[in-house]
Symmetry: C2
Subunit: 322 residues, 2 copies
């Protein structure tokens, strides 16, 4: 996992190959639909449920693929990453499934649920001080000790793994007008765009992003990656800056990046709970928020969205009955 | 909805007709699978997710069908039932979707989540003292005022509606060895048995039942319906005695009824949360419990189970992260 400065942009056959490599480990997640949610939103929506993926997020696809590629290359050392969220748990299990261990650097103020998830899936948690510098220092120390770093999004193997969700979705639901996924680091939407632009060149491809972490929207408008942004959003999975390789793909292949408000994200979570009987994390709900706040772009269309995960911070979101 | 003393047992075409009548209102729920759960259980399991059905349980199928039949018969009065659980919420929404109201008699010690669910779906809650006598008196008063009673399970229209879940499951997953669903009042398993015995005469059909509410298992063994049982189980959806019409079908068409312990039910909930990333209610988990406690009957087989609902009492089950 040593990305060169300008790695080749992966193409559709790379995602197809990834799907073949990981198909016995990842779950073909269901696609769900609700007539009453359609009425509430004024469009036809189908949702790909990566909240029901192994470890509760799409991150398990990319992590599993990255580990499979290490295995093919004969690299069998333990792996390492830094993560305050779903990538850590996903890599922990992907590594364990491959008979190795994952070391995950986490800030000592990380959400307890997320720390538990890494450990429950067999990962070793290394705490560090909060902040990007301490996290990177922690990871460097692990790499110096021989562990192989597996980045969360800025790598072709990760992007191809994440793209397998859209590959399934477009097979399960061929007749879409629009494909939309959340964007944080950009692994999911860039992998999705590779698949969708190839299979359905006329499809409108959109990303949804919290207004409080809208570096991708700003980068998309400028045509150049914004590298400073103080993220402030409840969508804890989307606080990262968009990665360099994902952004190159996003810039080429997306139609737009839609910023959404915090209030609309919360309303999106409530709508999904009420109409689809599922708890999704705030990051997932950005796609519903985008439909609520940019209704004119979606009216009467058929939209496929990807719910990226279902792991809510239970301190912040005590459950309601459904 | 005035069942005669010995109504005709519904047959497969009746369930097919029910599926046609309700198909625009109910959700075709997904079927999920987990390789790691299979390893833990020693068999291949696919689960039909009625926990993701509208209102969070299969009850919406039967309630929607019963209301559709009233509509066809030109009976447009409001409806009424007594329920401490999912049937009340399901009937509330089924009635509202048909432009009428449901009145639901609930004991004044009912779980607050369940009361909220009835109201959220547009139902009118009428509280009564706890106990069967007070509930029936409350319902009789509503019927005397002109509301049409819609029973929770002991009626052909309800049984046919519930049978549509198995109809979907056997279409989605044709190659099963065993079909299993929970049994409480018996609407779900009897509707399932009508479908399965017709489509796949060789299929093994089983019910799972809490040992603390095992009146159906006892009735099945005796060949006669047990009419007294003091239910004591965490599976609040399965405390009812099996209904007369459901039991006639169960007796004819099931292979066995398997009692399960409370500990295995809780373990089943945990396994589904860990491996399938979903919260299911204790009643649903009885099917996993049955595999845990009767492992020899399932080893190496392909089992289709129905998760009956996902509505947990949040006072009793605070969420864990996944």
């Amino acid at each position: 996992m040593h990305p060169s400065a300008e790695p080749r942009i992966p193409e559709f056959p790379d995602v197809e190959a990834a799907a073949e490599r990981i198909r016995f480990a990842v779950r073909q997640t269901p696609v769900v639909h609700s007539a009453t949610l359609d009425q509430a939103l004024g469009c036809t929506l189908v949702a790909k449920c990566e909240n029901l993926q192994v470890t509760g997020s799409f991150k398990f696809r990319g992590a599993t693929h990255a580990v499979a590629r290490l295995r093919s290359a004969g690299r069998d050392a333990d792996v390492a990453t830094h993560s305050s969220g779903n990538h850590g748990a996903a890599l922990a299990l992907a590594a364990r499934n491959d008979g190795r261990q994952a070391f995950v650097v986490m800030p000592d103020n990380a959400v307890p649920d997320k720390v538990d998830a890494v450990r429950r899936h067999g990962g070793q948690v290394i705490f560090c001080a909060p902040g990007q510098a301490a996290r990177e220092a922690g990871l460097e120390a692990l790499v110096a000790d021989g562990r192989i770093p597996v980045p969360p999004y800025d790598h072709p193997d990760i992007i191809c793994g994440q793209g397998t969700a859209a590959l399934e979705l477009l097979t399960q639901t061929p007749d879409l007008d629009i494909l939309m996924a959340p964007v944080g680091g950009g692994g999911l939407i860039s992998g999705s765009a590779i698949v969708a632009r190839h299979l359905r060149p006329d499809l409108t491809i959109l990303a949804a992003e919290p207004a409080g972490a809208a570096d991708t929207a700003a980068s998309f408008q400028r045509g150049e990656r914004v590298t400073h942004w103080q993220a402030d959003t409840i969508a804890d999975g989307l606080r990262a800056l968009v990665g360099a390789l994902p952004f190159r793909i996003i810039r080429q292949r997306l139609d737009d990046v839609l910023p959404v408000s915090e209030a609309a994200i919360l309303e999106g979570m409530d709508l999904v709970q009420a109409h689809l009987q599922m708890t999704i994390e705030p990051s997932s709900a950005t796609v519903i928020a985008a439909i609520l706040e940019h209704a004119e772009r979606f009216a009467g269309r058929r939209i496929g969205v990807i719910f990226s995960g279902g792991n809510v911070d239970t301190r912040r979101f005590p459950p309601e009955s459904v």
